[in-house]
């Protein structure tokens, strides 16, 4: 498969803030590549540089065969960039916003109406053409932005946190639409702070402090982790507090019974359930043994967040 984007040792400094600090990755044609990482990891900056709207401090960036930033003008008709902030005209209707973007990209009326019919159907915005953009729900606004970004049929779609703050139902719908777009051969680069959205991406790059700390398909990343993960449910009435003073953030001290066990790398308390990450099977056996009669231990597969935390602890 051909690479649509190639980035080597990209750096972007804002005075002494190293927003991007040696970023290298490739995006292949027809895939969804996800930048997954917390706020401040450098996701937005990376996407802006790739889109040719921000100058890098140093490094090599190639998008659709063009050198960025030198040939940035040339990629503009082939890419669609959707920024994190809703930037449509709230006092124009859905239709007027779309027409405006179509005009900017010099799309003929007839071509527009054909494309639009399909896009409105795909995003289920048909019937809302006359509504003011400002009066749409959060999820619908994102879908309208998507239409405006797709109207000139870009080969590469760059989406900066399109699902942040969007409710679960709209979020699901938005990802389903992206899967449809990929089926048509478009390449998508998307960023998100939600670790669980990794599952919707073909490949992901885990971003932290201006770098990609790991990159692969979400499945391979999970299979490649040698950590063993278990959910521990305290049996009602046995003990209320397995981990008095759980303190896992910087210098792990898991407290209570957990502090007597070896091979635990991470614990997170979810309601009454402890999500425990262990070094190996032997540690799991020891955990099961210790919890016998106190709590139920179920082995589960590692989540992308488990892997992310494991990697950043080792930095």
């Amino acid at each position: 498969m051909k690479n649509v984007v190639e980035v080597k040792n990209l750096k972007k400094y804002f005075y002494d803030v190293h927003a991007i600090d040696g970023l290298s990755f490739e995006v292949r044609e027809g895939e969804i590549f996800g930048f997954i990482g917390p706020d401040g990891a450098g996701k937005t900056t990376a996407l802006r540089v790739i889109s040719g709207i921000m100058l890098p401090t140093s490094g090599e960036v190639k998008v659709l065969g063009y050198n960025i930033p030198e040939e940035a003008e040339a990629i503009k008709e082939h890419i669609g960039y959707m920024s994190q902030k809703f930037n449509l005209y709230t006092d124009l209707t859905v239709e007027e916003n779309i027409n405006f973007f179509a005009d900017v990209f010099l799309i003929e009326k007839q071509v527009l109406s054909q494309r639009l019919e399909k896009l409105l159907k795909m995003t289920r915005l048909a019937g809302f053409e006359k509504r003011l953009a400002g009066n749409l729900s959060g999820g619908m606004k994102q879908k309208l932005s998507l239409i405006c970004t797709l109207i000139h049929r870009p080969q590469l779609l760059i989406l900066d946190e399109p699902t942040t703050g969007v409710d679960p139902v709209s979020r699901r719908e938005f990802w389903e639409i992206l899967q449809e777009i990929v089926l048509e051969g478009v390449t998508i680069i998307i960023s998100t702070p939600y670790m669980d959205e990794a599952e919707w991406c073909g490949r992901i790059g885990l971003m932290f402090r201006g770098r990609i700390i790991s990159s692969d398909t979400p499945q391979k990343m999970k299979q490649g982790s040698n950590r063993v993960v278990a959910d521990v449910f305290p049996i009602t009435g046995k003990t209320e507090d397995l981990s008095a003073g759980l303190h896992s953030a910087q210098e792990p001290d898991f407290g209570g019974i957990f502090s007597k066990l070896r091979g635990i790398t991470d614990i997170q308390l979810y309601g009454r359930k402890y999500h425990v990450v262990l070094e190996n099977e032997a540690a799991l056996e020891e955990l099961k043994d210790k919890m016998n009669g106190i709590a139920q231990v179920n082995q589960i597969s590692a989540s992308i967040e488990d892997i992310f935390v494991d990697k950043i602890r080792k930095l």
């Binding site: 996800g34 679960p168 139902v169 899967q179 003073g245 759980l246 896992s248 359930k273």
Partner: protein
């Protein structure tokens, strides 16, 4: 001893002809972490505003910390702490100055302010940061300052509005550990969120949709009650080809969808038979794939499913 801290009975809020909250009832006890999950416009914020005594219900009532939201809304406010994702902190003030400011608003006396500030700074892991200007602190720490300000007056009930979205996972862990300690020491915690990770931290959850609670229970119970069918995950190097191939035979499955580098299938027959079927379909087109594995539904799967079922009924 667990006692009921919040007891809402048939709360209704109408705005003109629009019913934002449609007869919602629930009980929350001391130290419980209780979550409202729902889309925008589901009625979460309106419900919270009524519980805080800043919005009068159209009908129904709720007892919050022993006071009726209809009769004594003013008495409720002193027992509450509120923290939102959009921190309402003064960025040009230091941590200590922000804390002193909030303590003053809540009516703490000078002596108390000093004492409480010391305790809270310790509790939220902000020791050493007291004289830092809030504006230049990283997001995860700012969030802890916001939390510290929300609990400076020792509220009985703490409301959190999407408190950890976008925060670095390590700092987020510390945040939830503090919340857990608060819960253990008897503070009741209300969370409103879209964020599935936050949902899983709740002892109990209410799923809100169109002004109603459509499901209530623990995360595990809701999952078990909603998903009886398994989800099969088929991984393929060329996932687009695999999806197109399987989609052509979609009538043989209950549901099929593409998820990144894999295809998800909800079987309509038993898992083994469906597995054979998938194998036959993909092999006939020479598509390389890994044998289907069963995966657990996420809380989001559960929520989306419940909303669909509700809307179709």
């Amino acid at each position: 001893m667990k006692e009921t801290v919040v007891n809402a009975v048939k709360l209704v809020k109408k705005f003109g002809g629009f019913t934002a909250v449609d007869s919602v009832s629930f009980e929350v006890s001391t130290g419980e972490i209780y979550g409202f999950l729902g889309a925008n416009g589901a009625g979460k914020s309106t419900t919270i505003k009524m519980l805080c005594g800043i919005l009068e219900p159209t009908s129904g009532d709720a007892m919050v910390g022993g006071y009726s939201i209809r009769k004594n809304p003013e008495n409720i406010k002193k027992q509450l702490g509120y923290m939102s994702q959009k921190f309402s902190l003064y960025t040009s003030l230091t941590v200590k100055e922000n804390l002193t400011f909030y303590a003053g608003i809540y009516g703490l006396k000078t002596g108390e302010i000093k004492e409480r500030t010391a305790i809270i700074v310790e509790k939220t892991g902000l020791a050493g940061y007291e004289d830092r200007e809030v504006g230049i602190m990283p997001g995860g720490l700012k969030q802890r300052v916001a939390l510290a300000c929300a609990i400076i007056h020792q509220p009985k009930i703490l409301f959190l509005d999407e408190p950890t979205a976008g925060v670095d996972p390590l700092l987020r862990r510390r945040f939830w550990e503090i919340i857990d300690e608060l819960s253990k020491s008897g503070t009741t915690i209300f969370i409103t969120t879209h964020y599935m990770d936050e949902v899983e931290h709740c002892h109990r959850l209410a799923l809100m949709h169109a002004g109603r609670i459509i499901k209530e229970g623990t995360v595990e119970n809701i999952k078990a009650a909603t998903f009886t069918a398994p989800i099969m995950e088929v991984e393929a190097a060329d996932v687009v080809a695999a999806y197109k191939c399987l989609f052509a035979g979609r009538s043989k499955f209950k549901e099929i969808s593409m998820h990144g580098s894999s295809v998800h299938i909800i079987p309509s027959a038993d898992v083994a038979k469906t597995g054979e079927l998938i194998k036959a379909m993909l092999s006939s087109e020479n598509i390389k794939f890994k044998e289907a594995v069963l995966i657990q539904p996420s809380m989001e799967d559960v929520f989306v499913n419940l909303v669909k079922v509700y809307e179709n009924s």
